[in-house]
């Protein structure tokens, strides 16, 4: 673990928007993050629709700790530490499936998918039976805290973490645009999983507020006409919002009412009607009155969302998709990306098919947006490891004067919670890293930014 004095210096620079490159490469910083960020925050593990039936499970990690996210025989979602209580063997070595029990291959201890220990070979001979070794005391451990919002299952390794809804705070308002387009909520498919040689924070920062990269990094997408209009240049008209634990980007929509504007990004009328019934007045106002649509977003620490609407056939209309992605840290210079396609459960089948194609073209392992993003992030990570370069302070002060004043005022009439600015600026990246600073400093109640 790096000494607190050095961490204090890093945090001090980060707060000024001068990012020491070492935060993207240093093993000591990573170690501190594993303990203080990922050991305390609420971390996304799975969506409930990935495990619809009793017995369904997926195995996920919080950095290096493995958890089985299972739907038990009573339909309850469990997050069980994937660790045999005897000698610490993983009781599940598949990544998904359906099982009523998990059996440790080492000595055969067997657990029900509720976590209960139900089988110990030679229980009487080896342990003196239930009198000396009550099996009820040796079930698989649950993650210290488990909660879900709109079907998104989170866990926290900190028994004292605030309640999930409090943690999410105002960001819930924005989360609903991605995850609650009808009362039925999402179905998610995937994930695709791949490893990139990039620090986990760079993707998280990019998704939460980097509208400035779009016109350049993604120029190829504009050039091949994947969008109806030359969309990259529209990014400076978008609003950047940040509320409590997360923030994101938006696009300015063409004139019209709520339904017109949702039609302009390609939603069919049935879905629009359900959105109108499901979203609050303020949520509807963000689209229908203010005229914005959410695009990329990040929830601290490492869960991101993206919503975009390319075309999937020549000259065809835009087709919106939603993707959920997790920047799963592997090491200071390596991240495993989990990328899911998500769609409203009640969407028409034809829309689901087209939306899936829209996702595959743009994001994920083969996505034409994502490819060029990751190219930037791996390069930054490699540079940040240099003996000399790691001491450099990278510039994250867009939207601030030399003295640190805001160059533009936050919007006074923004219908959502948190702070919102129109135009380019690194407000959100600074807000996200401010949370990172507070966690590294040890604050648990870091809600107000």
């Amino acid at each position: 673990m790096p000494d607190d004095r050095w961490l204090g210096q890093l945090v001090g620079d980060v707060r000024k928007g001068w990012i020491p490159a070492a935060i993207y490469s240093d093993p000591g910083v990573f170690e501190a993050e594993e303990e203080r960020v990922f050991g305390r925050a609420w971390v996304f593990l799975a969506h409930e629709s990935e495990i619809p039936e009793p017995g369904d499970y997926v195995v996920r990690r919080i950095v290096r700790d493995s958890f089985i996210v299972a739907r038990d025989e009573y339909g309850e979602v469990r997050v069980l530490a994937n660790v045999c209580r005897h000698r610490g063997m993983q009781v599940c070595r598949a990544e998904r499936g359906n099982a009523s029990h998990f059996r440790c291959p080492y000595h055969g201890w067997t657990y029900r998918n509720t976590g209960d220990l139900v089988g110990v070979p030679f229980h009487e001979d080896a342990y003196g039976g239930d009198r000396e070794f009550p099996k009820s005391e040796f079930g698989l451990l649950s993650a210290p805290r488990v909660a879900s919002y709109n079907g998104l299952v989170f866990a926290s390794l900190d028994p004292g973490a605030p309640p999930l809804e409090e943690y999410l705070g105002g960001f819930r308002f924005y989360l609903d645009f991605y995850t609650r387009q009808s009362p039925a909520g999402l179905e998610v498919h995937g994930p695709q999983r791949w490893r990139i040689r990039a620090n986990w924070k760079i993707g998280a920062e990019n998704f939460c507020g980097d509208t400035y990269h779009t016109p350049y990094t993604h120029q190829s997408i504009a050039e091949i006409g994947l969008f109806g209009e030359h969309k990259p240049h529209k990014r400076k008209e978008g609003v950047l919002y940040f509320a409590d634990r997360g923030g994101g980007t938006t696009y300015k929509l063409p004139p019209g009412g709520f339904a017109d504007r949702l039609r302009s990004v390609g939603y069919p009328d049935g879905m629009i009607e359900r959105m109108a019934q499901t979203w609050s007045r303020e949520q509807r106002a963000l689209v229908g009155e203010a005229g914005f649509m959410v695009s990329a977003a990040t929830l601290f620490p490492n869960l991101s969302f993206v919503h975009n609407w390319p075309r999937v056939r020549e000259g065809g209309p835009p087709v919106p998709f939603v993707s959920i992605r997790l920047w799963q840290p592997v090491g200071p210079d390596e991240t495993e990306v989990y990328s899911w396609f998500a769609v409203d459960r009640l969407a028409p089948e034809e829309f689901k098919q087209d939306s899936y194609r829209s996702y595959l073209l743009s994001f994920g392992t083969s996505g034409m947006f994502e490819q060029d993003d990751v190219e930037n992030w791996t390069s930054i990570t490699a540079v940040a490891a240099g003996r000399w370069a790691r001491g450099l302070r990278l510039h994250s002060r867009m939207g601030l004067s030399r003295e640190g004043r805001l160059l533009r005022e936050p919007l006074a009439d923004w219908p959502g919670p948190g702070q919102a600015f129109q135009g380019f600026g690194e407000y959100n990246q600074r807000a996200l890293l401010e949370l990172w600073c507070r966690y590294l400093e040890g604050a648990r109640e870091a809600v107000e930014v």
Binding site: A94, L360, S366, M368
Partner: protein
């Protein structure tokens, strides 16, 4: 594999058969075009109604059956999608392939079957080597292809490709390449 596969009767074509050699020649030629980044020529080898899919592979207990996801792919492409990817690589802004990867598509273990329609169904192993820049270690992607080749007056054309990759977690930075 001879016999009935997914409701279709397929007859094995031995390695002495001209159809076997035609299929192997097709795969070798295709590999060369991809490694030389001659994508337009590659597109010309694809049928208009081509479908190109690469499902996500997962780790399951006990069996390799059912180890691809039915509802998630790395690729699920039609001609429009493949065409757009090629157009993008041809722009000056496809950063992830600038500088370009140096690739080798190794195609081996070829087995050829004839369908009643005359189409050839070709199974092969693919090992892709990808080297980029001068600092990173090379990346590999390994898998099995099942292709359907249609006879046309211009020669064989790829109608369908399904590539089952061996890794559940890809170790290559992206799939800005074709497999």
């Amino acid at each position: 594999m001879s016999g009935v596969v997914q409701g279709e009767e397929l007859v094995r074509v031995g390695s002495g058969d001209p159809d076997y050699h035609a299929a192997v020649d097709f795969l070798h030629q295709e590999a060369e075009l991809l490694d030389a980044r001659r994508w337009r020529d590659w597109l010309a080898l694809l049928a208009e109604d081509v479908t190109y899919e690469m499902p996500v592979r997962v780790t399951r207990a006990r069996t390799l059956e059912d180890s691809t996801l039915a509802d998630m792919d790395h690729f699920r492409e039609d001609r429009f999608a493949l065409q757009k990817r090629v157009e993008r690589l041809e722009t000056e802004y496809a950063w992830t392939e600038d500088p370009p990867s140096r690739t080798r598509h190794f195609v081996t273990n070829v087995q050829v079957f004839r369908a009643a329609s005359g189409d050839l169904v070709v199974k092969s192993y693919l090992l892709l080597f990808r080297s980029r820049g001068d600092t990173r270690p090379p990346e590999w992607v390994c898998g099995e292809r099942t292709d359907r080749l249609r006879r046309t007056p211009e020669g064989l054309r790829l109608v369908h490709r399904r590539l089952v990759v061996d890794e559940s977690v890809l170790r290559t930075q992206n799939l800005a390449i074709f497999l």
